[in-house]
């Protein structure tokens, strides 16, 4: 007779891995039937440290800003509360920026969560599907009276992150090891993240640019997206914005939408 699958061993082994208050499971032992003790701790350590390392790899600028000890303590809380639900670690930590925003000891760095959001978007862009960027020559061939009805397909890598703080400048200054000059964190900045070919690029969007790009990415026609951008910022420059988005590789194609 076929033996029944036994879910018990994993159900007993798993919970203490991320909960240091729990004892090692009694189902496992060291030599000669002795309690597993530090031997089980090897697994706890592997799990916790490797997941903290995964967050550190996804959020290097956040770690540089906070310092390693601060970051690892913060990440340890998150790892224990929200372990990954996918075996793909580059998908891990999507709720980490929200965790950072609410983390008690990070309240004096209100821009930190937005820097994390840019880093998360950077990694999504890095792994996004390959696609050929839209050539600006194609767009310049369109008759001006037809432009308002154009709808655009975003490149799979394209992301927008909006911030009430200077998150783009802070991100850029902390992604490498060069010394960081004094930054006025209070200037709102919006990020455009693109990957036209293989290199991820993060740009600072001009006034109205985030509303414009977000509208286009959601399928709004060009005319309507420009109207929304003007509403958001009287300084909105449509020619500069559309040229900037196309130059960055934000889109892969356009089509004629239904006339409004």
């Amino acid at each position: 007779m076929r033996p029944e699958a036994d879910p018990g061993f994993a159900a007993a082994f798993a919970p203490p891995l991320l909960d240091p208050a729990r004892d090692a499971p009694t189902a496992v032992t060291g030599r000669n039937g002795k309690p597993a003790g530090r031997r089980y701790d090897v697994y706890r350590n592997n799990v916790t440290v490797s997941l903290i390392d995964a967050l550190a790899a996804i959020y290097p600028a956040v770690q540089r800003i906070t310092g390693t000890d601060f970051f690892r303590a913060m990440a340890r809380f998150h790892v224990r509360n929200s372990p990954p639900t996918s075996p793909l670690l580059f998908d891990y930590g999507r709720d980490f920026p929200d965790f950072v925003a609410n983390y008690t000891h990070a309240q004096d760095m209100p821009w930190l969560a937005d820097v994390a959001r840019i880093e998360r978007a950077w990694l999504d862009a890095y792994h996004a599907a390959d696609a050929l960027r839209l050539s600006s020559a194609l767009l310049s061939a369109i008759a001006p009276e037809l432009l308002d009805d154009l709808v655009f397909t975003p490149h799979p890598a394209t992301r927008i992150v909006r911030s009430h703080y200077a998150a783009v400048t802070i991100f850029a200054a902390n992604r490498d090891s060069a010394p960081v000059a004094r930054i006025d964190a209070s200037t709102p900045e919006d990020a455009l993240i693109t990957r036209a070919e293989f290199d991820v690029e993060v740009r600072h969007l001009p006034p109205g640019g985030a509303v414009f790009a977000t509208s286009l990415m959601s399928g709004e026609p060009l005319g309507a997206a420009a109207m929304a951008a003007f509403d958001a910022s009287a300084d909105f420059d449509i020619a500069a914005n559309i040229a900037g988005l196309i130059e960055a590789g934000a889109f892969i194609s356009f089509a004629f939408g239904d006339p409004a």
Binding site: A5, D6, A10, R38, L88
Partner: protein, 302 residues
């Protein structure tokens, strides 16, 4: 539309099996050095999960490597040893990589890493019983059905044992090969680590291991700690050179089994490419000595 599961874009340029060659883990930071020195004689092994993104630089790097080298696809997260059903989405991604890159070797672990919805990112141990044997074999059948190829299953390194186990690890592994037809990836460092940790002889374990089914060997470095009683506890850390004792076991196994593809596994504190390549060259020298000895015997027999 380009997706992760597009059909093979890299021609299969290597006859199977690849024979007694030494390879290394492929680390992206080594790519310029590898391409700069021209095609290597051996093969490269990658962790499948690192190439399960839709596109971008990782696939470009792997295509550049695959163009001139045989590839070993090493899965780390399938959770074959766990009691719950395999993650069908993950299995489909694994199958997609096999189709796209046509690896010469495909392997996974006798371990588990997911329980319910949590992924623990470690190779966790299982008890060896009739019940776990049945579920492991079901999972291997499912993987082999998906990839239409035999899988090489890797023996684990462990730090604890389960009270409920009713058979030895080697009996368990032998039964898996008999029931599923899978091959084995013999990780000699894991054997040495487990033997030290549990106080048995690595040579006895290897004498009982079904060597005829071994299609690949792993060699790696380990770290030293102690357990609660002060006993030496070896950690399978993959962060340094292969230990002398592991080299010795490798020589014994190659003399007994004959040459098989052999990987130098190095996953953290990764050295410069020439150091990793030199470790592979040391393994290749041992494989070549055995190949020469076999040819000499063949000539005498003729």
């Amino acid at each position: 539309m380009i997706t992760a599961t597009k059909p093979a874009t890299v021609p299969l340029r290597f006859s199977l099996p690849i024979g007694g060659v030494a390879g290394t883990s492929f680390k992206p930071e080594h790519l310029p050095a590898i391409l700069g020195t021209g095609p290597q004689a051996g093969f490269f092994e990658v962790h499948a999960e690192n190439y399960m993104g839709a596109g971008g630089a990782p696939h470009r790097a792997l295509e550049a490597i695959r163009r001139d080298h045989a590839l070993s696809l090493h899965g780390v997260c399938m959770s074959i040893g766990g009691p719950q059903p395999l993650d069908k989405t993950h299995l489909a991604r694994f199958r997609g990589l096999v189709a796209r890159y046509q690896p010469a070797l495909i392997s996974e672990h006798l371990a588990w890493s997911t329980h319910e919805t949590s992924f623990f990112n470690d190779l966790l141990p299982l008890p060896y019983t009739e019940a776990t044997l049945a579920s492991v074999c079901d999972h291997i059948d499912e993987v082999q059905e998906a990839i239409r190829r035999p899988l090489l299953l890797e023996n684990p390194s462990t730090y604890v044992t389960f009270r409920q186990s009713t058979m030895s690890e080697t009996d368990f592994i032998r039964a898996i090969t008999a029931r599923t037809g899978c091959g084995l990836l013999l990780d000699i460092n894991n054997v040495f680590v487990s033997a030290t940790n549990h106080g048995y002889s690595a040579l006895d374990y290897l004498a009982d291991f079904p060597l005829a089914h071994v299609g690949e060997i792993h060699l790696a470095g380990h770290a030293e700690q102690t357990d609660d009683d002060g006993n030496l506890l070896l950690i399978d850390s993959h962060d340094g050179p292969v230990a002398d004792a592991v080299w010795k076991l490798f020589e014994i196994i190659i003399a007994r089994r004959g040459p098989v593809p052999t990987l130098i596994e190095w996953d953290s504190k990764i050295p410069e490419w020439p150091i990793l390549r030199a470790e592979a060259a040391a393994a290749q020298a041992i494989l070549d000595r055995c190949q020469t000895a076999e040819e000499t015997e063949d000539r005498r027999a003729a």
